[in-house]
């Protein structure tokens, strides 16, 4: 039984340490804004709202929009 520990390399135990909220807040905001901006173009641009004229964005990501579950035409 004692041979098990001798053959295995000792692994340092990792104690989970939380990131303080203060440090996290600006990044949470930045991450959320970035994600919403990206998702807007994949998901709904040229659906209900139009930032860019025509329907080139809509047509280009068409299959992804349907398969990712966004409401589409």
């Amino acid at each position: 039984m004692s041979s098990i520990s001798s053959s295995a390399t000792p692994r340092p135990a990792i104690q989970p340490v939380a990131i303080p909220w203060r440090q996290l807040q600006p990044w949470l905001l930045f991450g959320a804004v970035l994600a919403i901006g990206l998702l807007y173009f994949v998901g709904t641009e040229q659906g209900v709202f139009h930032l860019i004229g025509g329907s080139s964005v809509h047509e280009f990501v068409h299959d992804g929009r349907h398969l990712l579950g966004f409401p589409c035409h």
Partner: protein, 244 residues
């Protein structure tokens, strides 16, 4: 210690990989029901509208277009997912990075993908009316917001009950509260029933299964991927600290 900045970057890179996997799955499983739906659309189209030149060809839509969409989707979700992970890590008892990432990804899949899908499932081409896109989009995002708010409520309830009932029972109470709010919302919100007469139910089922499967691929890749990446870097850091 983990920095939010490095987590965000790693999350987006893991998301990029998740986007590639999602593309492979969606292309192999999802394209055939889409083609079948488009064939139905063309067979039932107004003859006056037929013969319009396509702005983007089907080949581009099903390859580069689909890949672009899944990559951007993966990067966006990966970024926000890593921030949810950053908030959860170290706040879920003794759970390490892999277990935390898996749990956050499971919650993300249920809240962001499954719950809105069960009320307003993904629809293939030819099954939605142009006139109701505004209403359908509003209802879909309303359902998503309700799901996120229910998650926040469940976390609040769970945390407030831990001292009294212990971690396991508090988690059951929180999950019960989440399910209760979602069931009420699903019953109260209006349904959308626009599938045209004669549309193959098999194509519809296959399409929706492919759509849900794509979400499973994305969230599984995010959860397992970020967990593995963070675990590795923390181990490396621990070894360096130990040997220093």
């Amino acid at each position: 210690m983990l920095s939010p900045r490095s987590l965000l970057i790693r999350g987006m890179l893991v998301g990029l990989a998740a986007g590639v996997l999602a593309f492979v799955f969606a292309y192999l499983v999802g394209e055939s029901p889409i083609d079948a739906a488009i064939a139905f659309e063309e067979a039932h189209a107004d003859p006056a509208a037929a013969g319009e030149p396509a702005l983007v060809s089907r080949t581009v839509q099903s390859t580069v277009g689909l890949l672009t969409a899944t990559l951007i989707y993966g990067v966006a979700l990966g970024g926000i997912f890593s921030m949810a992970f950053a908030a959860a890590y170290g706040r879920l008892g003794q759970l390490g990075p892999r277990a935390t990432a898996a749990l956050v990804a499971l919650a993300g899949f249920v809240v962001v993908a499954l719950v809105p899908f069960l009320k307003y499932p993904a629809n293939p081409p030819a099954t939605g009316s142009e006139d109701t896109i505004g209403r359908r989009t509003s209802l879909y995002f309303l359902m998503l917001v309700i799901a996120l708010a229910s998650l926040a409520l469940a976390i609040y309830i769970g945390r407030s009950q831990v001292a009294r009932f212990g971690l396991w029972n508090a988690a059951i109470i929180a999950a019960g509260a989440f399910v209760a709010v979602i069931v009420v919302a699903h019953v109260l919100l209006p349904s959308i029933e626009e599938i045209p007469e004669g549309f193959s139910p098999i194509v519809l089922w296959n399409f929706r299964l492919a759509s849900l499967g794509t979400q499973v691929v994305v969230w599984t890749a995010l959860g397992l991927g970020l967990g593995a990446v963070v675990e590795r870097s923390l181990r490396r850091e621990a070894v360096l600290t130990a040997s220093a």
